[in-house]
């Protein structure tokens, strides 16, 4: 909100008013948001109509976290708008809103201050307009549920009646703004339902899969079964005989690095989805499978484990690890591994696009509409300003839908056919051609003193990096992957080293809910539990000992910056006091001290900081005499800093309990001869109601710290808490995911 930006907005506003009506010249402006077009819009996020309707722009995507509702509620609260008279408008992709990339669990922490400013700015200007009208001091005028009220005289005017006058006032300097005290909040943390909730429950919500354009064709696309394969020949004769099939079109293969480019393939276009799917079945395509056709994920996992046994690139080094091991009373070592995973959001990738007169308009289930603009522009060789991306509801995203390859497919096919085209990925397409969560091999070694406490800690990790998206030759992890629960482990151990082994890549790797935290948390917190048992100590007591006294730790990895989830360490230090707090809370709420394991029944613990949030989990498992596992209870204690929509925060951690259970117990993508072996929910398994934790208890700390992440940080501690509970119940230590592959009795 620099002065310059305000000046520009004012200029734009004058122009709008000068034009009288809302006839705007350029293409981009013709898609200007209703908030921009309102009589009074002091800010890109808020507009007020003469009718009193308040339009608030939601610029982040809604995929289930509630951020589309929560951020506008913050504006409405600061403005003291009447929520019943607020219309939340989903923004198109436009850099004027700042980042719209809805991942990294940062919608609230990055934008809550901006939303408060937007609301307070509008309120201040309306109050000033009223004060001038009534000729009273502005300080005596107060916003109240959509009106400005002068208590002394009893005068009252609606926001709409003041909009035109407010629009003529200068935008106040943000330093002069006054913000509401928390005690006056009407919507924040008051469990107001999401704006789309009723539509969803009545079957009216519009997801990407539901978007349509007049005269559109529906496309189903055959992609190479092996990453990097190229179409050699195809026969479309039978496909074209299917009633309703209109065309079969070849899409060029991507040029490495793949980035978010479409994969390339052969598209069947039809009048409706069923015809496209039927035509696709009749299509015969021969592939030149290329260099990844020998990729075997089981063998690859073995290689990662072997790599992790060897010295790697040092990414953290404190004290003297060699000397520490040499003088240790005891050494303990263990290897852990995790598989590739698919996001499998319930809604498969889908988008509709129309190319016309050199410009593209699309409707997409996307986490990142600005990346849609760039990717579509790149694929079609047009300017990104000529790509208008409308964002629908997302039927889950989990990171998959921040990569808009499928939207570019729709745009390319529209250009080739001259018609709007909707691309629909089948579940098989989704499972076989995802940007997979990385597989990892990890080696842990601890040198212990006589009491069983580590004086020396070595954690080696090897996994194909997300960096291969942008540099196909990359073999080492990116800073962000290393800073995810690995080289920022806050244990109080004098000799501490982390090393990263090289890993060549053979498939698209992408970020999935909680990303590298998932495998690092699994290895670290399983290993910690092993050490506790070796020492004959209670795992929670033992972990608190490793964390040491409550303090803020400055992370200094070697040869890189500590990423800290994109935040300054001064704002979001690694704080073991907050970690100890959530551990104490989860121990107390779960009755940990009284929980004694018996045959087939056990309790497990893990605590992890990620996305700047502190989470501790206690899980109860039951293993019957046939080895079947159920999870009667999972307790999750959370310090996510200040919250703005308490119920949605709780629901994210409930969801993480199930998502983490899927990862721990069930899900695996395996690859043979370069081909993904799974295709749908019968062989890519995810937790269903009976497998999910029966009772999930979320315990939120009433924190006054800055808002931190919510969507992702619940996931990482769940798998190790289950593994540790299984050990307590059965004496089996499961070090490789998914755990269903290990016989528990």
């Amino acid at each position: 909100m620099s002065t310059i930006k305000v000046m520009e907005r004012r200029a734009f506003l004058k122009y709008t008013f000068g034009a009288g009506a809302l006839i705007l010249g350029t293409h981009v402006e013709s898609w200007a948001s209703d908030a921009d077009k309102a009589a009074f819009h002091p800010d890109v996020f808020v507009g007020i109509q003469p009718t009193g309707e308040v339009i608030i722009v939601a610029h982040r995507s809604e995929m289930g976290t509630g951020s589309k509702s929560t951020l506008p509620m913050v504006v409405a609260d600061e403005l003291d708008a009447d929520w019943k008279r607020v219309r939340v408008e989903q923004a198109i992709g436009d850099e004027k809103y700042g980042s719209q990339n809805t991942d990294g669990s940062c919608s609230i922490r990055d934008f809550v201050a901006i939303m408060k400013i937007a609301g307070a700015t509008a309120r201040t200007m309306l109050e000033t307009a009223a004060a001038q009208k009534w000729n009273v001091p502005a300080g005596e005028c107060k916003a109240q549920l959509g009106f400005i009220v002068h208590a002394k005289s009893g005068k009252k005017l609606g926001f709409g009646e003041l909009a035109a006058a407010a629009a003529k006032l200068p935008v106040p300097d943000k330093a002069t703004l006054k913000f509401k005290p928390e005690s006056e909040y009407r919507y924040i943390n008051k469990n107001v339902p999401n704006v789309d909730q009723l539509d969803i429950i009545e079957g009216r919500g519009t997801f990407g899969m539901d978007a349509k354009m007049p005269g559109m064709l529906v496309a189903s696309i055959e992609h190479s079964p092996v990453y990097g394969g190229k179409m050699a020949s195809f026969d479309a004769a039978e496909a074209k005989k299917v009633a309703g099939v209109r065309d079969v079109i070849v899409l060029d293969p991507f040029k490495p690095p793949h980035n978010f480019q479409p994969l390339g393939g052969v598209a069947v276009l039809a009048d409706h989805t069923w015809a496209a799917l039927q035509g696709r079945k009749k299509l015969k395509v021969e592939w030149d499978l290329g260099p990844n056709a020998s990729y075997d994920s089981d063998r690859y996992r073995e290689q990662l484990l072997a790599t992790a046994k060897q010295p790697g690139k040092v990414v953290r080094n404190q004290g003297d690890v060699e000397a520490g091991f040499a003088s240790a009373a005891k050494i303990h070592e263990a290897s852990y591994s995790t598989p590739l995973l698919s996001h499998a959001p319930m809604e498969t990738p889908a988008a509709v696009a129309e190319f016309k007169d050199g410009k593209v308009v699309c409707h997409a289930a996307t986490q990142n509409p600005q990346a849609v603009q760039e990717t579509v522009a790149g694929a079609l060789g047009i300017d990104k300003k000529d790509v208008t991306c409308h964002v629908t509801l997302l039927g889950g995203g989990f990171g998959r839908k921040s990569k808009p390859d499928y939207v570019a497919e729709a745009a390319l096919l529209s250009k080739k056919t001259g018609k709007p085209v909707k691309v629909v990925w089948s579940r098989e397409d989704d499972i076989r051609n995802d940007f997979y969560h990385s597989t990892a091999g990890m080696y842990m070694k601890a040198g212990l003193d006589a009491s069983g406490k580590p004086t020396t800690w070595l954690h080696r990790s090897a996994f194909p990096s997300i960096g291969t998206t942008f540099d196909d030759k990359a073999e080492y992890a990116m800073e962000l992957e290393m800073g995810m629960g690995w080289n920022d482990l806050p244990y109080d151990i004098p000799n501490h080293r982390a090393e990263n082994g090289p890993a060549k890549n053979h498939i698209r790797i992408g970020w999935l809910r909680a990303v590298a935290n998932v495998y690092h948390a699994f290895a670290i917190h399983s290993f910690t539990d092993e050490l506790a048992h070796l020492a004959g100590k209670d795992p929670i007591e033992y972990t608190l000992g490793l964390l040491g006294p409550g303090r803020k730790i400055e992370m200094k990895p070697v040869g890189m910056n500590y990423w800290n989830h994109n935040q300054k360490q001064s704002d979001f230090p690694v704080d073991t006091a907050r970690m100890r707090n959530v551990i104490d809370l989860v121990a107390q709420k779960s009755g940990w001290a009284k929980r004694k394991a018996s045959k087939g029944h056990g309790w497990g613990f893990a605590a992890h900081r990620s996305f700047l949030t502190y989470v501790a989990v206690v899980t109860e498992v039951q293993v019957d005499d046939r080895g079947r596992l159920t999870i009667p209870n999972m307790h999750i204690a959370v310090d996510a800093g200040q919250t703005y929509n308490r119920d949605r925060v709780i629901s994210q951690f409930e969801g993480a309990a199930t998502f983490g259970t899927s990862i721990a117990m069930m899900s695996e993508i395996s690859v043979k001869d370069g081909k993904v072996q799974q295709s749908n929910f019968h062989n890519y398994q995810v937790a269903r109601m009976p497998e999910a934790p029966r009772n999930t208890h979320i315990h939120l700390i009433n924190s006054k710290e800055l808002a931190a992440g919510v969507g992702e940080p619940g996931v990482p501690p769940v798998p190790p808490s289950i593994a540790n509970a299984i050990f307590a119940a059965t004496g089996k230590r499961v070090r490789d995911l998914p755990m269903r592959k290990t016989k528990l009795v």
Partner: protein
């Protein structure tokens, strides 16, 4: 030609009798409340009622649906006690699976007005929610049925 009733309205369909009811509802009638999630009867997102019973519309051909009465999420009109319980409990996260969950639960309540936990598990295990709203689904079903949580 196939004739059927959808939410009380008689419809005629001249196309491929092998077309799944799912795509007929979504693409021909433009009733998109019924969702595609797997196309193989594995996820429950496409659940509708045929003659009062929950079925997977992706596994029901138009020929199967001939002469039958189909009710979709749109047909509940927001009046079903489950929909009210779903609102009160704020069940949905992304919401994509929820039409199917509600239709499946509605069929369960027809069969067992006061379902036990085991009956809820049995009826609902075919409906995947990747967002993990199972706990709230269970409690909303109990609220609608008036049984203790």
């Amino acid at each position: 030609m196939v004739q059927l009733k959808v939410n009380g309205v008689t419809r005629k369909f001249e196309g491929d009798p092998e077309m799944p009811l799912l795509w007929y509802l979504r693409d021909m009638l433009e009733m998109t409340g019924t969702k595609y999630g797997c196309g193989m009867g594995l996820c429950g997102a496409c659940t509708v009622h045929v003659d009062g019973k929950a079925v997977r519309s992706c596994q029901t051909t138009m020929a199967n649906a001939a002469g039958k009465s189909v009710v979709t999420i749109e047909g509940l009109k927001g009046q079903h006690p489950l929909q009210k319980a779903w609102m009160a409990a704020s069940v949905p996260q992304c919401g994509y699976c929820q039409s199917g969950q509600i239709m499946q639960a509605a069929s369960l309540l027809k069969e067992h007005a006061k379902p036990t936990d085991a009956q809820i598990d049995e009826a609902m295990q075919g409906n995947i929610c990747r967002c993990g709203t199972y706990g709230r689904i269970r409690s909303a079903i109990k609220t609608a049925a008036g049984v203790k949580a």
